[in-house]
């Protein structure tokens, strides 16, 4: 409904293990659900955070982005981020100079509808296929126009890398530390971290998915991030190497070992 009506909702998801009730502790198994849940053609914005500070920062950002572009916006965390303790600086966004996008009432604006103004008429059902088609075209166009403005990612040591490790969310912490360690050993390893899982930083990843490099995808799921990656880099020559641990955490040591195995 939020997708159909372009409601500026903000939802914070802390992923658990699945399918079904499964585990309550940790996983990255709700990536597909969060990015493409529903019928899959509703447009959404999804930020994947990796620590408490980001949870705070991106929640503020999510409200602003949702109001600006009017797409439902998600902050995607996980059970670790929901339950562990670590330091975080809470601040008044005003003091940091964060500008708020002004919210707007959908209903109850001044004046009598039909007399002083048009009524707000919001619907998510259409009488004809053509009507729906037209509405969706506008959604897609708005989303595509927005995409370059909000895409976020992080990338390091990729220029000469033989292996680029891709990870998001809390797994990225292990990825970053592993790459540091491997570089210190003189190995040509870099990383790429998508922060917006939707829209996905496709062009940016495509630009480095070249030659006979290996893209090692580390995720606590059976290929949900990998699906987004494959979709983004279709046609590129880099080889995809999976490192899937559905519902399990991934440590720095495990990533280091896996990279050495595939180098």
């Amino acid at each position: 409904m939020a997708e159909a009506m372009r409601l500026p909702t903000v939802t914070i998801i802390q992923q658990r293990g699945g399918p079904s009730t499964a585990t309550v502790i940790y996983s990255q198994q709700e990536v597909t659900l969060t990015t493409y849940g529903g019928n899959g053609e509703g447009m959404r914005i999804v930020y994947s955070t990796s620590n408490h500070q980001e949870l705070f920062d991106y929640t503020i950002k999510a409200f602003n982005v949702a109001w600006k572009y009017r797409f439902p916006t998600f902050v995607l965390g996980d059970g670790y981020q929901a339950k562990m303790r670590e330091s975080v600086t809470l601040y008044d966004p005003d003091e940091k100079g964060v500008e708020y996008v002004a919210p707007e009432a959908y209903v109850g604006k001044p004046g009598t509808p039909g007399v002083d103004r048009e009524p707000g008429l919001y619907r998510n059902t259409y009488n004809t296929e053509e009507e729906l088609f037209e509405v969706l075209q506008q959604h897609f166009a708005d989303f595509n126009k927005m995409t370059p403005e909000i895409i976020e990612y992080d990338q390091e040591a990729t220029d000469d890398a033989d292996v680029i490790v891709i990870g998001h969310g809390v797994v990225f912490r292990g990825v970053r530390d592993a790459v540091k360690e491997l570089r210190a050993e003189g190995l040509k390893v870099g990383y790429f971290r998508p922060i917006t899982l939707r829209p996905f930083p496709a062009e940016q990843l495509k630009a480095i998915a070249t030659g006979n490099r290996k893209l090692l995808i580390a995720e606590s799921a059976e290929g949900q991030l990998a699906k987004l990656v494959k979709d983004a880099i279709y046609g590129c020559t880099a080889e995809i190497v999976p490192y899937f641990r559905p519902g399990l955490g991934i440590t720095t040591e495990q990533i280091v070992a896996k990279v050495k195995e595939v180098l």
């Binding site: 109850g108 604006k109 509808p113 039909g114």
Partner: protein, 257 residues
């Protein structure tokens, strides 16, 4: 010979969307006429937010010149509750069918009622899932033949018709207004709808009106049979009247004081 004038539409109706899209003989139009007249009489067109469910009620998404939200099936009560909470000056009406209210959306209604949310729910009971072709709903009557119960509803296997207002009056606190009216008695139905809105405006509590209404298309009845069904047969299971009335309770308390 004088030509009888066209009956006037309520002022709050949206002329651009008329004639409306309900089938000839449908109960929805008359219930919405009562609602439109009440909105006019109370002078609240600038404060009403109308929420309609999925079902034939969705055809009313642009029915009034009031801010209107067509929601997800069964989600109209929570959506209207949210709007009311965000802006308590608004008068929020959740409009739905018996399927929307008593099957898929029953969780929303029960919890809003239990919390005594200050919204009005207007539920059209036509004993079937009308929009989807006349399947059995929680309000289909024993023996009634419908699309998914071609030999008639078997109460042993599928239970008895849901008693909505009776349930709501049992779970709401003081200040709730609960009634069941019928399009067979429009004057009475209109007075119930009016009280359900006044009750919200006074901030007393949850307000709920079920309206017995016709669906000749799915009942497959002619005009005479349609009327007989709503006027005579439905009240055998669905007792018309006020179940909970804070206005009466107040009067009584004053008399006893």
């Amino acid at each position: 010979m004088s030509v009888s004038p066209q009956p006037t539409m309520p002022k709050s109706w949206r002329v651009e969307s008329k004639p409306h899209k309900f089938c000839p003989g449908c109960g929805h139009g008359l219930v919405l006429k009562c609602l439109g007249e009440v909105i006019d009489e109370l002078g609240i067109q600038d404060r009403v937010v109308f929420g309609c469910d999925i079902g034939c009620s969705l055809l009313s998404w642009d029915f009034f010149n009031v801010d209107s939200v067509q929601t997800h099936h069964g989600r109209t009560t929570p959506v209207m509750t949210g709007i009311k909470r965000a802006n308590p000056d608004l008068i929020c009406i959740a409009y739905m069918g018996d399927g929307g209210g008593y099957a898929i959306g029953v969780g929303g209604i029960v919890n809003a009622a239990a919390r005594n949310e200050k919204v009005t729910v207007l539920l059209v009971n036509n004993t079937v899932y009308a929009m989807t072709g006349g399947q059995m709903s929680p309000c289909t009557m024993p023996g009634q033949k419908v699309e998914t119960a071609p030999y008639g509803r078997d109460a042993e296997a599928t239970g008895m018709p849901t008693q909505g207002p009776e349930m709501i009056s049992a779970i709401t606190g003081d200040g709730a207004y609960v009634a069941r009216g019928s399009m067979a008695n429009l004057k009475q139905l209109k007075s119930y709808i009016k009280k359900s809105l006044q009750n919200q405006m006074e901030g007393n509590g949850f307000s709920f009106v079920e309206a017995l209404a016709t669906c000749p298309t799915n009942w497959r009845t002619n005009a005479e049979k349609t009327w007989e069904f709503v006027e005579k047969q439905m009240p055998q299971y669905f007792k018309v009247g006020e179940k909970k009335n804070p206005f009466e309770a107040k009067k009584e308390a004053q008399q006893n004081a």
